[in-house]
Structures are given as C-alpha cells and as structure tokens.
Amino acid sequence: MLRIIGDTNIDFIGMRKKAFILSALFLIVGLGAFTMIILNKANMGIDFAGGTMIQGNFEQPISIGSLRDAVIGSGFTDASIQALERHNVPNSFIVRVKETKVDDMDAAERLLQIINESFAGNTFHLDSEHIIGPAVGESLKRDAQWAVFISVLGMIIYIGLRFDFRSGVAATIATFHDVLVVLGILLILDKELTLLVVTALLTLAGYSLTDTVVVYDRIRENLKKFRGKGQFVGTVNKSINEVLSRTIMTSLTSLTVVVIILIFGGEVLRDFALALTIGIVVGTYSSVFVASPVIVEWEARSPKRFK
C-alpha cells in the first residue's frame, strides 16, 4: 500500500487561531475586491465592460513596447497589450481596449489603422476580432449575476437539506471564504474579471463545498461513535485526519489537470485555469482550517451536540 501520509494525528483545530488570522487577511483583500465590483470600480474584462479585442500577427518581429506605445500614444490610454505564444505563428499579439467606437468608427478599424500606419512595411494579419457593445456587456453582467445567485441559492438549499443549521452556516462561510480569497488574490495579481473567471469562481465554489462536505460527513459519522462529553474537538480533529489522504489525493489530481490547462491551454483559458489553481489550494486549506474550526468555535460558545 503506497501512502503519501500514514495515520496522522495532527492537531488542526489547535492551529485555528493562526489560520483565522491568515484567512482574515486574505478576506479583507477579497472583500475589498468584492466591494470594488459592486461599486463598478473593478478591473472588468471587455465582456462585462464592453470593448474591443483584436488579435493578429506581424510578419516581422516587433517589440511589445513599440506596439504598446503606438496604440496608447494614439489615444487608447486604457489599452492592454499581450504577446501570444502560438504554434507556427510568431509575433502574435492581443490588443484590448474598452471602446467600441471612436468618432463613429469601429474601434477595431481604428486600431488596425494605427497599427498599419505605425508599422508600415510590416504587415499585420488579423486573426480575430471581438467587439462587445455596452448593452451586451450589461446583459452578460446580469446573466453572470443570475448564475451566481442561482448556484448560491441551490447550494444553500442543498446544504440546508443535508446538514443542520450550524454546519450549513459553517459550510457556507467556508465556501464564501474561498471565493473571496481567490477574488482578492486575482485583484492583487491585477487580473481582469471576465466571464470565464466568474465561471471558474462558481466551479470553485462547488469544488470547495465538496471538500467541506466530505469532512462534515466524516464528523457526523464519528460523532455517532464518540458521544462522551468534551470529545467534540477530538472527534473533529480525528475526522479531518481520517479524510486527509483523500483530501490531498483529490486536490492533487484536480490540481494536476488545472495546472496542465494553465500551461498548455493557451491564452483563452489562462486566467480561468489560474483562478481554479489558486482556488483548489485555497479550497483544500479551508476545508481543513476554516470549515471545521468554525463549528468548533461555535460549539465552544454555545454547546450543542453536533448532529
């Protein structure tokens, strides 16, 4: 039997104070990011904010700096420019701007004009363009809000059916913790909030809840065996230790695939995979260090047998 870890008896609950401080720090950043989204001040991708993306390649090499100077120097001050790694297509770039129209002219056309004028003699081949009008951005935002609302509602109903009140609340806290922490880290990394990032956050919420559910199931099972007084903390600790190898194995396989997407999946999926990678690490941490300690704290304050 090959085992990463043997029978462990780590006092996870004993580390909860440190864990709470760490989580609080990340949560503050996460809540800050969330507030910025509510106030419409976050770094929204063009799918929510509306805007124009063009992607193409030059025949001869150019520096990303010169492209950036040309585009930003022509009035697109909020332009973001990215170099791309493409198979057999060198000198590929993505240019994103928040405008869809400039002086009645398509922003995409204007960008092409700027590029052609600034790099005359070095032909730019357009591979893709995406123009999202502000009205479409608004409705995508609304759809994303609905998707978040429905999945949160669905999960809370599910938790309510499967668990008692306390563990339901604790599981919800752990899930929100994970999503907010990832949101905060993405903000620190200056990533744009796009449809795919929201998708990753929702997927992550499901994943993180799964992890919590597995631990809680075991706590519930073990509580039937250990009914003595003062055994609550020990039982929770024992349960976490018992499912630890599962937690690590599943995190490992999930992490493997998202890291692979991060490396090989290309530009489209990069931020999506990044959010999931961070999310799986945070989700694993929270199922051990947040979800269970929360019910332990609660039980300590107002003792009531955990169902």
Binding site: V89, V136, G154, L195, T210, M249, I260, I261, G265, L269
Partner: protein, 574 residues
C-alpha cells in the same frame, strides 16, 4: 438474474449506445485530409453530411462569425413591433442561406435581439453587410439644381458665420486651413463624360470652386466652408441641366458630414429633401471619392415589387442587378419613369444612394440597378441577395461581433487536445501508481467516463467549445474523486482487520452517500452556468454537468463490477 449480470448488460448497452452516438464524430476526427478529399470525390457532399452528424464545434474552435443584432423597435410603428423580430429572423435566414454557410444558427435572444452564428465563415465585413443592412430599396427623385444651390449657399453662409464667431471668441484656432489644392480646382467628371461636356458643365454651373486658385481660394474657403469640398458632377447632357450630385474627396467626407449634422444646418434643410451619400467610394481622377446627393424625400417606388432579380451587365460592362416588374407595379413604374425622362432617378438603399442614373426612356417591365464604378461583382451579388431575401421589417444594429479566424480555431483545438491528453495521462499515472491494480480499475472507469461524455455530447448535438474542453479535463480531475473516496475507505476498513471482501463492500457502501453529496454541489454550479451562460460558457457547463453525472455511474458501478469479477479475495492490490 444476479445483479452482477444486470450490471454487465446495462454497461454493454451503454457502450453500444455510446458508439452509436459517437460513431460519426469518431469517423470524422480520425480521418486525414486526404481521406476526406477521397470521400468527397467518391460522393460529393458526403463530408458535409458527416460534419452535420458529428459533434458540433463552437466558433472558437472552427472559426466563424458570431453577431448579435438588436432590432430597433423604437424606429417602427407600435403595431408592427409584435412579430418584427421573427420576421427579421426569417429575412436574415433567407439571406444567410444564399451565402452557402452550412450550419448557421439564427435565433432570438431576449425581446429584441437576434444571434447569428456563421461557422466557418470568416469574411466579417461581408457578413456584417449581409446581415445588418435593412435593405429597404427606394426610388427617389432629386431636388432641382436651383433649390439645391440656394440651400448650399445658405449653409455656406451659416457655417461661415459660426466659424467667424468662434474664431473671434478664440474657440477655433487655425485647425481648418484652406483645403484647396489644384486637384480640387478641376472638375471631377464621371469617366463617361467627354471633355467637351466638361467645359459646358463649368460654364453652366458657374461654380466658384472651379476657378479657384491660390490665395483667392484660401479666402473663398472661408466664405464657402461647405461648397469648397463639393464638385458637381451630375447633369443631363440632353437637356443641359445640372442636378445636385457632388463629388467629395473621401478624406473630406467627415468634414462635410459634420457640417451637415450641425443643428443650425439641420434646421435650414427643408423637411421634404435629404442629403444622401453614395453606398461606397469609387475612384475619380485617381482619388478615392464619395458622392453626395440632394434628394426629394418622397418615396416614388418601393423595391418590394421587384421580381426575377438577377445579375446583369450595364452599358460599360459594369456589374448591375436586373429586375422585372409586372402588373400594377409595372404600370406605376412606367408612369414614374415616363413623367421624369431626362431626370435622374436615385436608387436608394437604406438611405444610401446606389446610383442615380438619368432616365432615358419610359421603363415598364425590365429595369436595371446600376451600381457606380466602385462596385465589385461581390457587391452586386450581395445586393442581389438582399433584394431577393427582402427588407428587414425594422432597422437593426450590431451590438456584438466576434470573428475567429480558422487558424486560431485549429490552434485552440491543438491546445485543447494537448492539455486533455497530458492531463488525462498524468491523472491515470498518478492513480495507477498510488492504488496499483485498484488504480488500474479506476483508470478503466475514467476512460469509460470520457467516452460516455463525448458520446452524450455528440448524441445530444451539444457544441464543443474551448472552455468545454477545459470542462472535460476538469471532469477527469474531479470525477476521479469518487474512486479516491472509495479506495481510501477500503484502505481504512482493511486496517481495522476486516476481510478483503468485507472491506470492499463496506468501502463502497460507506463512501456512496459522500460521493453523491459531493457531486451534487458540482451539478448545481454546472446547472446554473448552463441556464445563464452563453456560447463558450454553456459549452463548459454542458461538459462539466454530464462528466460529473456520468462519473457517478462509471466510478461506482463499473469499478464495483470489475471488483466483483473475482471471487474469494485473499489480498487486494490497493
């Protein structure tokens, strides 16, 4: 019959169904380009048929154009609004059918939006023209030259006054230098007019700009802010009558437009006339130019009466669109053209002038739409298509446009394929190393899982997108969790000293509830994303949903069936 036998039968049926669902996709995906060419040679159209039956690829994977239109309800009568979107969809479908795109998606979204997906079509501009134009064809007469000249002079003086006032108050610096060059000072004439007519024209018009040169020009440009950019070109040679059709250099068009759009100017343009630009630029005297017309607003004849619309050739072998009229429409058109011989008749599509030929004789049955020298064969074909398909019931605006080139699509497929295969291989290896023979059993289940997933997707006609591929890979990572839960439980049971058989059974029993619990949460997320996601996101939701759902069967039932194959376990490789 024992439950074991049943499990075999059910799994067998599922595998067969899977192959049926996935067969065409599998055939298409495993074919090389030469195979495809050979198949097409043997049986033309067969590849197309096969592609229709195989799994759909999203625009992000195969390239194509995605356009979202908004029907401008506010611009039509309330009574016509009810089915305007449906009628617009019908018209757009007709137009798209003419382009030969194999599997277009044209559907309503919300109250007033239409989604148009053209897989494999990458000429975005042409697609936009075809889909986006209302194609309201109207025939209009032109304002008389006398009235036009009066109006232009009035506009000149108003603009000049405003400019002067602005200059005095310092708002306008010397941003508007004299634009006159020698190129502007010679009249620009259509290729078919002769030099002799040239002079007549100059004499007739007494056009200031014709004689302008040097400093005098600079001075006059201040007095003629508008007309300095206009060169009259349209006149009837038979009657020696000029008509208000002007050449404007392409570079000056914006300036002219801005002037005409000023509120002060809008208020002096009589309500029964309108300025209208040519549909597209053409070349005159080696310069790119547009043509500007002053039309009478009244619609004389509507394009919907046109029949038998086809491509033709004009007097100078240029591309034209020919049509036929019958019955009352023919009579009306004959009346219109008969009463206006030697006058220009503007052919107007969506408020842009296609051309303004001079009527030479009464036209009853057979008409011809000339398109100006700037039109290509493609332009003529597109005009024919939109006239045949009919006008949109309301104007539309493009509110989203996504064009993905074919190389980008194949690039994405490549990336998706690499990440899927590497991700799958790594997970299979990790599980195999960690759980030995039991791991191998889980690996078999995982392969079944992916196979069933692809089969369901193909069978349901779901669309595979790049995020969808990510969903498949993610399914691999997440669905193996069920086996991990089971195996870890079996290991625990073994450690308590139970027999192998009892441990396996207990492992499955105890883990089952947790597995269902943990999968439900992912299904909820996938469901919400499916309901509200669009395009690529929906593709992700579909693969995640089915992947996780199917894994409940593959990871639990299929692995248990394999474990149960062997009786009397002494040891277990786990």
């Amino acid at each position: 019959m024992k439950s074991q036998t049943w499990r075999f039968i059910i799994t067998g049926i599922l595998v067969i169904l899977g192959f049926i669902g996935f067969w065409n996709t599998l055939r298409l995906w495993t074919m090389s380009d030469e195979d495809k060419a050979r198949m097409e040679e043997r049986n033309p159209g067969s590849i197309n048929e096969l592609e229709k039956k195989a799994m759909r690829l999203g625009l992000d994977l195969q390239g194509g154009v995605h356009v979202v239109l908004r029907v401008k309800m506010e611009e039509i009568e309330p009574s016509a609004r009810e089915d305007a979107v449906e009628r617009a969809i019908q018209v757009i479908r007709n137009r798209v059918d003419f382009t030969g795109v194999t599997e277009p998606i044209i559907q309503k979204q919300g109250d007033d939006r239409i989604i148009v997906d053209l897989p494999g079509y990458t000429d975005a501009e042409r697609a936009e023209d075809l889909i986006g134009q209302t194609a309201q064809l109207q025939f209009k007469l032109m304002e008389s030259n006398e009235n036009a000249t009066l109006l232009l002079n009035r506009i000149d003086s108003i603009v000049a006054e405003i400019r002067k006032a602005q200059k005095e108050s310092g708002e306008l610096t010397d941003e508007e230098p004299a634009q006159l060059s020698t190129g502007d000072s010679s009249p620009l004439i259509e290729p078919d007019t002769t030099a002799e007519e040239d002079d007549i024209l100059a004499d007739l018009l007494g056009d200031d700009t014709l004689a302008l040169e040097g400093e005098e020009g600079a001075f006059l440009s201040e007095a003629n802010p508008l007309t300095q950019y206009l060169d009259q070109f349209l006149y009837s040679s038979k009657t020696n009558t000029p008509w208000p059709g002007y050449i404007v250099m392409a570079k000056d068009r914006k300036k002219v437009e801005n002037m005409l759009n000023m509120t002060e100017i809008q208020s002096v343009i009589p309500s029964d006339v309108q300025f209208a630009w040519s549909t597209r630029p053409d070349v005159a005297n080696a310069q790119e130019v547009y043509r500007l017309y002053l039309l009478k607003r009244k619609v004389q004849f509507l394009g919907k009466y046109l029949e038998n619309i086809k491509l033709g050739r004009g007097q100078f072998q240029e591309n034209t669109v020919d049509f036929r009229l019958t019955g009352q429409a023919a009579a009306a058109f004959a009346r219109l053209t008969g009463a206006n011989i030697d006058k220009p008749l503007a052919i107007v599509i969506d408020d842009k002038v296609e051309s303004a030929p001079i009527i030479s004789s009464k036209i009853r049955n057979d008409g011809q739409i000339t398109m100006g020298s700037g039109a290509t064969l493609e332009d003529a074909q597109d005009l024919q298509i939109v006239l045949k398909a009919g006008a949109l019931p309301a104007p539309v605006e493009i509110i989203e446009k996504n064009v993905v080139g074919p190389t980008l699509g194949s690039d994405s497929i490549r990336k998706g394929l690499i990440s899927s295969l590497v991700g799958l291989a790594l997970v299979l290896i990790v599980i195999l190393i960690y759980y030995k023979i039991s791991g191998l059993i889980a690996d078999v289940a995982l392969v079944f899982n992916i196979f069933f997933l692809l089969a369901v997707m193909a069978g349901l006609g779901a669309t595979l997108t790049m995020p969808g591929i990510a969903g498949i890979i993610l399914t691999v990572g997440i669905s193996v969790d069920a086996n991990i839960l089971i195996f870890e439980r079996i290991r625990e049971e073994l450690r308590t000293g139970k027999t192998v058989r009892a441990s396996i059974d207990a492992g499955y029993d105890r883990a089952l509830l947790t597995i269902i619990d943990s999968h439900v949460t992912t299904l909820i997320t996938a469901g919400a994303l499916f309901l509200f996601g669009s395009g690529p996101i929906k593709g992700f939701a579909v693969t995640l949903f089915w992947g996780v759902l199917l894994s409940l069967y593959t990871a639990v039932v299929i692995t248990k069936t394999i474990f149960d194959l062997r009786k009397g376990y002494k040891t277990l490789s786990i």
